[in-house]
Amino acid sequence: MHGILNAFSSASQSSERKTSRLSGNGIDTTKTLCFSFDGHNYTGHPGDTLASALLANGVRLVGRSFKYHRPRGILSAGPEEPNALVELRGGARREPNSRATVTELYDGLISTSQNRWPNLAFDALGINGMMSPVFTAGFYYKTFMWPASFWEKFYEPVIRRAAGLGRAADEADPDHYEKNNAFCDVLVIGSGPAGLSSALAAAESGARVILCEQDSLLGGRLRAENIQIDNHPGWQWAEDIVSHLRNMSNVRIMTRSCVFGRYDGGTYGVVERVSDHLAEPLPGQPRQRLWRIIAKQGIVATGGIERPIVFPNNDRPGIMLAGAVRTYINRFGVTPGQQAVVYVNNDDGLRTVSDLLAAGARIAAVVDSRAQPSSQAKTIIQQTGAPLFFGARIADTSGYRGVKMAIIRDNKGKNHRIACDLIAVSGGWNPDIALTTHDGGRPVYNETLATFVPALDSEDLHVAGVAAGTMTTAEALREGAQVGQRAAAQCGFREPSTPPVATPAVDQDETYGVVAQWHALDKESSQRAGKAFIDFQNDVTAKDTKLAAREGFISVEHLKRYTTLGMATDQGKTANVNALALLAEVTQQSIPQTGTTRVRPPTQPVALGALGGPHRGKHFKPYRLPPTHQWAVEQGAVFTANGLWLRAQWYPRSNETSWEETVNREVKTVRNAVGFCDVTTLGKIDIQGPDAATFLERVYVNAWQKLPIGRARYGLMLREDGFAFDDGTTARLGENHYVMTTTTANAGPVMQHLEFCHQWLWPEMNVQFISVTDEWAQIAVAGPKARDVLRQIVDPAFDLSNEAFGYMAAASVTICGGQTARLFRLSFSGELAYELAVPARYGDALAKLLMRVGQSYGIAPYGTEALGVMRIEKGHPAGPELNGQTTAHDLGMGRILSKKKDFIGKTMAARPALTDPSRPTLVGLRPLSPTLPLVSGSHLLPKGKPATACFDQGWISSSAWSPTLKSWIALGFLAHGPERHGEIIAVHNPLAGTITEAEIVSPVFVDPEGTRLHA
């Protein structure tokens, strides 16, 4: 860090003219910060934005436009900025398309211009401007079609390289992001006069208030204007109110917090820029924080966005919104020019004249498009002596890298060439209404204000101030207080008998008096080459609008999409209303007839990192760990993800050289001795109640009424559409007590399904469910020696002999001298096997115990891979077979569908397409050459037939090397499969380029008689 500081210690002399710094209400001139732009070093002050600091250093050219690469400066002083986009920071923290106008200056800030080559002052693609007669709106739809293959090879790469703006970072974002929820009665968005007075009124009523301000400082336009409230500068009044609010326990103030979206149910999306004003986040701090604010009432006090006026060459550096000029003067102490032309169609813009004079600039001319000078205009001109052109317009400008001259056409049609280095433009203000339209509400056009205002029909959203079309400070203060009180009252807070705030006095007479002038174009100027821009960033001109209309793109949405108007990073904040007005003019409609495009969230671009929050990398999703996880880690197990679960896949030994070797050894251990495997992840649902058996009858396809206590049974569930849903075993532990197991993947969905069936379909049934998946550690102990091992653990009172505790037996037992456990004689492997369940906290101890007592029997743990091999050897369907597309018939279980009762899926399972015998049905497959792998996902075609879909008869769902059979084996689905045992079929894997042959066999490869199972 110090290295960077040192590098800046002698700010190099800029070639640009440097202006002297005045005092501003938002900056601290006692401290100096160093920063760089395009490799040049400059200084600024705390409180500066990059834009204000660049202007203070006399830098006017900061960017290039998207299409024509026109030189561009700083248009605005806020988030609506279309031109002044830079790449901020560097390396993994590189932030493309950062708006200089909202980038807070910090010591060591590095910024670079973008979308130019080789440099900003000379940009080779500036030639695009000369090609502009060809590069009109939508030109690319009309060409680049021949020859067809050239699009990907040639045209598109050229276009892609030229397009885009900044460069995304090449590395993973190193910063952290957080997510948070907050709740309040009243959310106030914006801290200008309307926002502050509404927050105060709501808070005084007792409501819990959150005040969100996107800026680092509170006060809104009060910081930008030279205005007195109650005999104080407006910004001081704002600070007084803010300190009052800060002392109230029911108020929370959030700065640097942009409310970017309004969603259903009073949910607001907010991004707080916690650390963007620093070189790096402080230790333990996130870069940004996403807030979901749930508010009973919302107040939009977001102010307005000033409109430019469309005139030829209106995009040169030095042409700036009038309100922004005042912001730079009053808040930042920067005078953006020394010789200014002020061009307005309203009184508000005329404030700029006195502010510029007070800042020491000269007024070269005031151009007022209104036919008659307003009294405000007359007063200002009288006070200042500046030359006033009324009924006039700017006909053109000159100055390639910065404006040098305005050509003013007076009301007689005479041109005046006025030298200047700044043109301050105000075409009036558009209320910033985005948040009022996110729910689909459309704004309405207000002729008097010449703009769209919110049409609110919402009980939980209010608008105040300029956002509501209330254009003066005094009225905004008054309206804010009213709205704040109303919002609090809606939340049930009593309206105080006396008004909470005496409406403060605004010392100036404010008038607005806008008379629409959307553009300054006449027949002559529209013939000229000079481009008059509507959308600065995307280089959409008045001519493009006309062309689009000529080609029939006269719906406002068509205009937007055809010309790309309003689709740049600023989303047309300064462009959209002017564009509508021009379109209305071209199509000879009124503006309301022309309509508006729909505003979508976010109101300002939001970093993806903030929306992703901490859920990235290993933290993308939480881990679920079975009770023996830590023990498995200690054994050196290799793990695999199974949904959210992490399961031991195999347990390699040091002498083993491949995972296959390990898995083969684990299988052999189970088949010849004994092994154990944590099967806790299978869903376990405890079912109790007098109607439990009846309930099971309805959700499983097979019969349950006669299952005795102490026995378990395999069950298959269908969805109501008749396809297989899930399978597992359910054991009856008591008269009215069952415990169901589900597959790992369907533990949640089955629980939901049971609750649905009970609560919605059969609420009359007396039965209850609870998931006990996480309560019990369940371990399968499998192999010929399983009983011997368990006898070392299960208390002697329980007889484990085959006669007393045979296949599918289930019981509550005690182990280790009294510890409660459950024992099930279930087998997935086909061996003599048990599942032993103990309270989850004993899972780890049980694993250790099994290792100890099983040592003399050759016990070893086995993972999911060996489990999978053994279930394929036994032909048990699992996830790949129960894939939601198969039926009981497909799985070879058609015969277990009960005909004696109704059950979920019964009727639909009888549909012809589900019982068609030509449906692919479960078979086993063995390759003719045992060592030739059968690949899952291969398709099955008759031998000798060409590899085309019309001969496709089935596919392989699961395959494995069987160490027991010393052969590859597979399960698959094949048309008429069960009738074709013994037939040789071709196994096609075109992805790998292989065709092999396999014999169709029974899916049960090992111990088809079940001798081992029942041993």
């Binding site: 949910t267 729910d439 919605w760 379909l761 009727t907």
Partner: protein, 92 residues
């Protein structure tokens, strides 16, 4: 969007799972085939108020009947599925 669960209070959308149309009634086992096809596959899908089933899986595990406007997402009522008046809820 937020749903006010009758058991748990107002909760965020991510706690709930959607199922759909709450006006459907499961036909009897021996109902005509078309009644079953209608039940499993056909929907009214109105633009406006829609009676629908949601599951409060991250809360109390109750199935809820929610009346919600599909044009505005406004929620008119939330009630427990078990308690909701549903004459002829099940013919089986």
């Amino acid at each position: 969007m937020r749903l006010t669960c009758p058991h748990c209070g107002a909760r965020a959308l991510e706690e709930f799972t959607y199922r759909g149309d709450a006006t459907l009634r499961r036909p009897a086992e021996d109902a005509p085939h078309q009644a079953w096809v209608d039940y499993v596959y056909l929907r009214d899908d109105p633009a406006g108020y829609h009676s629908e089933l949601w599951y409060h899986g991250v809360g109390c595990r109750a199935w809820l009947v929610v009346i919600r406007n599909t044009l505005t997402h406004q929620i008119k009522s939330v009630s427990s599925a078990v308690a909701s008046p549903a004459p002829n809820k099940s013919d089986s």
